[in-house]
C-alpha cells in the first residue's frame, strides 16, 4: 500500500507550507484533511477570528491553538449599535484576557468589536503581554483614559492603538504623557472618539515628533485647528490623518501655515475629522486633494455648493462619507468628478425631523450609480425611493457587494406608484450576484423575501425592519440564502413557524436577532431544548417570560450557535432556553471596589439566589479546582450585593486558590470560578448569607 503523501513530509515542512495560508477558511480546511495535519496546523495557527465571543470558550480556544499571537473577538449583536440591546447584556472581554494572559504570553494583537472592556482589562494587557503591538477597540465601552495610560506606559512595542467609535470615559488628555520619552514605535493612533475638551497638546506633539513611523493619526475634537500645522509638520509621512475641530476665526497666517503643512504631506491619502467646519479653511487641504482616496466628511455641516467645490478637487476618491447636505445636485457633481468611487455613505443631517430639510432623494444615488462603474458599497439614508430607481441602480451597478438603504420613514412605499418596493430590491439581489450585505427598508411584502431567497446566494448579512407580512417571508430567507451568516430582524410579523421549520439552518449561521416580532416563548423553549448546539436567549426587561403563557411573544430573541454551552454572565433580563434551564444560573451582581474588585463571587442554586435577591452580604466557599467534588469549608471569596452599583459576574482564569487568611481576601492575581453545570461539577460551592457583621477587609 502506498504511503500517504501527508506522512512523507516532516512536520516542519508542512508547517512552513501552512504559514503561507492566512485565511481562516483555508486554515480550517487544512485542519480537516487528516489527523496529523490537524495537529500540525493547530500548533502553528497564529491568528484567530471569533465572530461571536460566546460561540466558544477561551479555554477551548487555548486548548486547540496553543501558540496564538493575534486574536479578534466580537461581542454584542449588531443592533446594539442602535440601542436595542440593554446595558449589561454581556460581551465582557475580561475572561478572555485573563485566560490568555497565562496561555499566550507572546500575544501581540487584540482586536475587539462591541465588547465591554474595563480599565482592569487594559491593565492586565499591559502587564501580561511583553511584545504587545496592536490594540483595536472598535465600538467598545467600559474603560477610561486611565486604562489607556496603563497601555501607554507599559507596551514598549505598541504599534497600533485604535479606539474607533468606542465610548470612552475621557478623564483628560494626560494619558498621552504616559508614553515614555524612549517610546517611538507608534504607527497608528486613532483617538478620535475621545470626548473631553482637555487634551495634552505638548505630549501629543512630542509623541508625534518622535514616532517617525507614524502613518495613521486621527485626533479628537479637542485638538484645535491652529495646532494642526504643528502636528503635521512633525509627521509629513502621514498617510491617514483625522483633524480635530476644523473651525476657528479666519486668520490668514493660520490658514497659510495650515495649507503649507498639508502640502508637505505627500503621502496623505485619507482625511477625516472636520468637526465644526468653517468653510473658509477647507481650501487649505486642496494641495492634498488630488491624491486623496478616502474622505470622511460626515461631520461637516456645510451646504452642497461648498461640498461640491471641495470634491471637484478629489478625482482619485474611492471612499466618501458625507451628510445629506450634499443633496442630489452634489451627488451628481460627485459622479462626474470621482470616477473611481467605490464606497459611498450618505448620512442624514436631521434624521428625526418630520419634513425633509435637504433636497436629497433617490436621484442622488441613481446618478452616482449611473456614472461610477466601480461602486461596490452603499449606505444611503433618504426619504423617498422608487422601484424604477432601484432597478436602475441594480442594472448599472452589478458589482455591488454591500447595499444598505434606509428610507427614514418606516413602510414608505414607492413614491411614484405607491406600491411596495419588492420589485426594486428584487432587482438588486438578482443583478448584484456578489451581494454580501443587504439592509432593507420601505414598504415590503413577503415577495421581497421570495426574491432574496431565490437570488441572494452570496448574501451573508441581512438586516430587516418593518417589513414582510407572514412567516413565509422569513421562511424564504432561511431556506434560500445559502451563505447567510447573520440575520437581524426587528418589528416584522414573523413568528414560530418559519423559525421552527428552519431550526437546523440556524446552526449554519453565526446568529439570528429578532425583536418586536411574533415569536412565542413556547417556540423559544422548544428550539432551546431541541437544538443543543444553539444558545437561545430571550431578552425581556419586563420580567421572567415564564410568568406569562407560552403563547406570548417574546420581546427580543438572540440565537447563536455555540460549542461552549449557555453562557454564565447573563444579566437578570436575559434567559437561556437551554435544556438544563432547571440548573440555570444567573450572574450575580457583585461588588466592585474602586474598579478593581478584590473579590468576585459566583452564584448558584435557587435558594442561594433568593438570599442574594434580598441583597444580603454573602460569603462564597470554594472547593479545590480539581476533579474531586469535595467541598472545603475554607471561605475563599466574599462579596456584598448591597453595594451599588452592582456589577455582573466576570469569570477569570485561576492559577492558584490561595487566600489571605487574615482578611479572607483572595490574593491579587488570576483566579477562576466555574459554575456547576450539566451534572459535571468542576467546583462545588455554596453561598451562605451572612446576617450581620462587619465585612472583612472593608
Amino acid at each position: 500500500m502506498q504511503k500517504k503523501v501527508a506522512c512523507s513530509f516532516p512536520d516542519e515542512v508542512l508547517e512552513h507550507v501552512f504559514s503561507f495560508i492566512q485565511s481562516d477558511k483555508d486554515r480550517n480546511a487544512v485542519s480537516m484533511v487528516c489527523k496529523s495535519w490537524y495537529e500540525i496546523e493547530r500548533w502553528c495557527r497564529r491568528k484567530i477570528f471569533i465572530g461571536n465571543c460566546y460561540a466558544v470558550s477561551p479555554r477551548m480556544v487555548i486548548r486547540r491553538f496553543p501558540k496564538v499571537r493575534s486574536i479578534e473577538l466580537k461581542g454584542k449583536p449588531h443592533f446594539a449599535d442602535f440601542n436595542l440591546v440593554p446595558d449589561g447584556w454581556g460581551g465582557y472581554v475580561l475572561p478572555w484576557i485573563a485566560e490568555m494572559a497565562g496561555a499566550y504570553p507572546w500575544l501581540e494583537e487584540i482586536r475587539l468589536k462591541r465588547m465591554v472592556v474595563t480599565d482592569e482589562c487594559l491593565e492586565l494587557i499591559a502587564k501580561s503581554f511583553k511584545n504587545f503591538k496592536v490594540l483595536v477597540l472598535f465600538s467598545c465601552e467600559g474603560f477610561s483614559t486611565d486604562g489607556l495610560a496603563a497601555i501607554a506606559a507599559s507596551c514598549m512595542n505598541l504599534r497600533e492603538l485604535d479606539l474607533r467609535d468606542s465610548d470612552v470615559d475621557d478623564l483628560g488628555g494626560h494619558w498621552l504623557s504616559h508614553f515614555p520619552e524612549t517610546y517611538t514605535s507608534l504607527v497608528s493612533l486613532n483617538s478620535s472618539c475621545l470626548g473631553s475638551d482637555e487634551v495634552s497638546l505638548s505630549a501629543l506633539e512630542r509623541l508625534v515628533g518622535r514616532c517617525t513611523n507614524l502613518r495613521t493619526l486621527r485626533l479628537n475634537r479637542a485638538v484645535p485647528l491652529d495646532k494642526i500645522a504643528n502636528i503635521l509638520g512633525r509627521a509629513p509621512q502621514l498617510v491617514d490623518f483625522g483633524t480635530g475641530t476644523y473651525g476657528a476665526d479666519l486668520q490668514s497666517d493660520v490658514f497659510s501655515s495650515l495649507a503649507g503643512a498639508f502640502s508637505s504631506c505627500k503621502e496623505l491619502r485619507s482625511l477625516s475629522g472636520f468637526w465644526d467646519v468653517v468653510p473658509a479653511y477647507l481650501p487649505a487641504i486642496y494641495p492634498v486633494c488630488s491624491r486623496l482616496t478616502s474622505l470622511n466628511l460626515s461631520y461637516v455641516t456645510i451646504q452642497s455648493p461648498d461640498l461640491v467645490k471641495l470634491l471637484r478637487h478629489c478625482p482619485s476618491l474611492q471612499r466618501l462619507l458625507v451628510l445629506d447636505y450634499i443633496e442630489d445636485s452634489g451627488l451628481e457633481a460627485l459622479s462626474s468628478s470621482c470616477k473611481d468611487l467605490q464606497e459611498l455613505r450618505v448620512f442624514p443631517s436631521d434624521p428625526f425631523g418630520e419634513e425633509p430639510n435637504v433636497s436629497l432623494t433617490e436621484q442622488g444615488l441613481v446618478s452616482v450609480c449611473l456614472a461610477c462603474p466601480k461602486l461596490q458599497s452603499v449606505l444611503y439614508f433618504c426619504r423617498r425611493m422608487s422601484n424604477v430607481a432601484l432597478v436602475t441602480i441594480a442594472q448599472n451597478c452589478p458589482n455591488l457587494t454591500r447595499f444598505r438603504l434606509c428610507i427614514i420613514e418606516p413602510r414608505t412605499a414607492d413614491f411614484l406608484t405607491l406600491e411596495p418596493l419588492d420589485v426594486g430590491f428584487g432587482a438588486i439581489v438578482e443583478h448584484c450576484k456578489d451581494l454580501r450585505r443587504l439592509s432593507l427598508s420601505g414598504l415590503l411584502t413577503d415577495r421581497v423575501f421570495e426574491y432574496i431567497g431565490r437570488y441572494a446566494k452570496k448574501l451573508e448579512m441581512l438586516s430587516v425592519a418593518f417589513a414582510g407580512e407572514s412567516d413565509l417571508g422569513l421562511h424564504h430567507v432561511l431556506s434560500g440564502c445559502e451563505s447567510l451568516r447573520k440575520l437581524e430582524i426587528r418589528d416584522c410579523p414573523f413568528g414560530d413557524k418559519a423559525l421552527l421549520a428552519n431550526a437546523s439552518k440556524l446552526e449554519t449561521m453565526r446568529s439570528l436577532w429578532m425583536s418586536s416580532c411574533a415569536v412565542s416563548f413556547g417556540a423559544c423553549k422548544l428550539l432551546g431544548q431541541k437544538m443543543p448546539r444553539l444558545n437561545v436567549e430571550v431578552i425581556d426587561e419586563s420580567g421572567p417570560p415564564d410568568s406569562r403563557p407560552d403563547s406570548c411573544p417574546v420581546d427580543k430573541l438572540y440565537i447563536y450557535r455555540s460549542v461552549a454551552g449557555p453562557r454564565f454572565d447573563m444579566p437578570p433580563f436575559v434567559w437561556t432556553m437551554d435544556e438544563d434551564s432547571a440548573l440555570q444560573v444567573h450572574a450575580l451582581h457583585v461588588a466592585e471596589y474602586n474598579r478593581k474588585p478584590d473579590w468576585i463571587g459566583v452564584g448558584t442554586y435557587e435558594e442561594s439566589i433568593q438570599g442574594l435577591r434580598a441583597k444580603m452580604p454573602f460569603v462564597l466557599y470554594l472547593a479545590e479546582l480539581s476533579n474531586t467534588s469535595q467541598c472545603s469549608s475554607q471561605p475563599l471569596l466574599s462579596g456584598d450585593t448591597t453595594l451599588t452599583p452592582p456589577r455582573p459576574l466576570l469569570r477569570l482564569p485561576i492559577e492558584t486558590l490561595e487566600s489571605d487568611d487574615k482578611t479572607q481576601r483572595s490574593k491579587e492575581g488570576k483566579y477562576m470560578i466555574k459554575m456547576r453545570y450539566s451534572m459535571n461539577p468542576t467546583i462545588c460551592f455554596e453561598i451562605r448569607p451572612i446576617s450581620t457583621r462587619s465585612f472583612p477587609g472593608v
Binding site: 455641516t301 419634513e355 439614508f381 418606516p410 412605499a413 405607491l418 425592519a465 418586536s516
Partner: protein, 183 residues
C-alpha cells in the same frame, strides 16, 4: 423580473408545514406588541411646504432610523458658553418641496442671512430698496412676525427682526411683487 409564485394571502401553510413540535401543539400567536408607532401618514415622503399647520408630533421609535449614538452625539455643534440657545426658524420657498431650519444667531445682519438663503435654495434675491422692496427677481423674502403679519425681510432693524421673526418664507411671483408696493 418575473414573479412565478402567485402569492396568495390565504395560503394555508399548516398542511405542508414542517415542525419540530409534537402534533397537537397549538401555535396561536398573540397580537404583536411592537415598539412601532401606528402612524396614519400617507406613505408618500413628500410634504407640502405650503402646509401651514404642523403635523401631530410623532413618538420616536427606539433605534430608528439606525444611526449609531456616537454619530448623533458628535454631529451636534459644541455649545460654547457664550452662545446659549440659538434662534431656530423654518425657511420655506414657494415651489421647493422641502423646508430648512436656520439659526438666526449665526448671522450678523441681513446681507449674510440673504446670502445663506440664496445658497440654500439656489436662487437670487433682487436688490432691496425701502420703497420698492426687492427688485430684479421674482422672489421676495418675507417673514411672519410675532403678530402673525407677513413682513418683508429688511424693513425693520436687524435686532428687532431676529427677536420677532417666527418663520421665513421666500415668496414667488405676483404675491412677492405686491409686498414691495406702496409705502
Amino acid at each position: 423580473m418575473e414573479g412565478s409564485v402567485a402569492y396568495d394571502n390565504d395560503l394555508n401553510l399548516k398542511a405542508t408545514e414542517l415542525r419540530l413540535g409534537l402534533p397537537g401543539t397549538h401555535e396561536e400567536q398573540q397580537a404583536v406588541s411592537s415598539s412601532t408607532v401606528r402612524n396614519n401618514k400617507r406613505p408618500n415622503g413628500e410634504s407640502d411646504a405650503r402646509n401651514e399647520t404642523a403635523p401631530p408630533p410623532k413618538a420616536q421609535i427606539v433605534g430608528w432610523p439606525p444611526i449609531r449614538s456616537y454619530r448623533k452625539n458628535n454631529s451636534q455643534p459644541k455649545k460654547t458658553e457664550s452662545e446659549g440657545v440659538g434662534i431656530y426658524i423654518k425657511v420655506s420657498m414657494d415651489g421647493a418641496p422641502y423646508l430648512r431650519k436656520i439659526d438666526l444667531k449665526v448671522y450678523s445682519g441681513y446681507p449674510e442671512l440673504l446670502q445663506a438663503v440664496e445658497n440654500m435654495f439656489k436662487f437670487t434675491i433682487g436688490e432691496y430698496s425701502e420703497r420698492e422692496g426687492y427688485k430684479g427677481s421674482d422672489y421676495a423674502p418675507t417673514y411672519e412676525d410675532k403678530d402673525g403679519d407677513w413682513m418683508l425681510v429688511g424693513d425693520v432693524p436687524w435686532e428687532m427682526f431676529i427677536t420677532s421673526c417666527k418663520r421665513l418664507r421666500i415668496m414667488k411671483g405676483s404675491e412677492a411683487r405686491g409686498l414691495g408696493c406702496g409705502v
